[in-house]
């Protein structure tokens, strides 16, 4: 697994994987999740967890603006097929007192809203409960909340 580091002098003793150091700058997250964003599927569905040579990418955001925040539905291209998914965390800082994640997390759902996986290991933001939308099913299969 390749990790890119900006500064050479960073202490890497706590990392136990091989590290390749490169010297170019990386911008942070600009918009949250939009078209062609690579996302990370966090549930235990087979579709999300079988390795493929291309990462799952967002190809459409079901939103007036094309930017998806926590709780928006998006369309993913995974393993050559299209699947809907729900955003449960993104790298962009949100409103104050809302969690910010280190990866753009996504949970696969079907067209009718049922989650495809049965468990979610990563923390799910609790703000989903206040939002208008069908999130109780995703909250029901989640393990811990943030």
């Amino acid at each position: 697994m390749a990790l890119l580091n900006r500064r050479i002098g960073l202490s890497l003793t706590h990392l136990n994987s091989a590290v390749i150091q490169r010297q170019f700058s990386i911008t942070g997250a600009c918009q949250a999740i939009q078209k062609l964003t690579r996302v990370r599927v966090v549930d235990n569905s087979t579709l999300g967890n079988t390795p493929y040579h291309r990462p799952p990418k967002c190809i459409h955001v079901y939103n007036k603006t094309g930017v998806g925040k926590v709780g928006d539905k998006i369309l993913l291209a995974i393993k050559g097929e299209k699947k809907k998914a729900l955003i449960v965390g993104h790298k962009m800082p949100g409103p104050t007192m809302t969690p910010k994640f280190d990866s753009n997390n996504v949970v696969l759902i079907e067209d009718n809203g049922n989650p495809i996986g049965t468990r979610i290991r990563t923390p799910i933001p609790y703000t989903l409960r206040r939002r208008e939308g069908e999130f109780s099913k995703v909250l029901a299969i989640a393990r811990n909340f943030v």
Partner: protein
């Protein structure tokens, strides 16, 4: 037309007599109401309330037994009058929800009381139904009762999963109710997740998530190799 009106009046009179006798009617009420077009407005409001009040005279419930028991016989004796809903609205709590589910012939009612540190809800209810229509009917009835009994409470309550045919869900703030078909229940095993917690077998079977190849760690001195959230 005269005999139709008489027939409808006769059915209604029969219904009132049955209600006054304090027998909870399940399907006959629904059949009559669904078949003949109901013209009078008070009937839909009175109907669910009078289905509930007989239940309150059943084995004692904590909290609302006093008001329910006192109001029950008085309400049913005065079934001919308009609804007695001013003083005797039962509180929409867990006992009422379970009573309604039992009345609706729900299969395998599972009520899990969650600890407060989970911060999700107080009670988590999972209920099975016999068919898709049964699930929809139960969910609609529950929502109707909630709207009837809760004036100032949580404003946004909707049935989630209306497009599905095997899993519906209603979030009442402190109570969450899931209506599923038995096959769906087997697949998700929500009871195991919420009772066992970290010892759930499906969670253990999930392989520890490895980060994708192009993952770039947030570069802070205290970031570690597994995922952490920052609040």
């Amino acid at each position: 037309m005269a005999e139709r009106r008489a027939g409808r009046g006769g059915a209604r009179a029969g219904m009132w007599r049955a209600l006054a006798a304090a027998r909870p009617l399940l399907r006959p009420l629904g059949a009559v109401a669904g078949g003949a077009p109901r013209a009078e407005p008070p009937l839909p409001r009175v109907l669910p309330l009078l289905r509930v009040l007989p239940l309150l005279r059943a084995p004692p419930r904590r909290g609302c037994a006093a008001t329910g028991g006192g109001g029950g016989p008085g309400a049913l004796g005065a079934a001919e009058r308009c609804q007695p809903a001013d003083t005797v609205l039962p509180e929409f709590n867990i006992d009422l929800v379970v009573a309604l589910l039992r009345q609706e012939n729900a299969k395998d009612i599972c009520v899990i009381q969650l600890s407060p540190e989970l911060k999700y809800c107080d009670y988590f209810i999972i209920v099975s139904g016999f068919s898709t229509r049964h699930l929809h009917a139960m969910a609609n009835y529950m929502l109707k009762m909630y709207k009837h009994l809760k004036e100032e409470g949580c404003p946004h309550t909707q049935i989630e999963g209306k497009q599905t045919d095997d899993w519906l869900c209603i979030d009442f703030g402190s109570i969450v109710v899931h209506f599923m078909l038995p096959e769906t229940r087997e697949v998700y095993e929500l009871e195991k997740l919420w009772t066992l917690g970290p010892y759930d077998d499906q969670l253990a079977q999930m392989t520890p998530q490895s980060l994708p190849k192009d993952f770039i760690l947030g570069l802070t001195p205290n970031s570690s190799d597994h995922l952490e959230t920052r609040t």
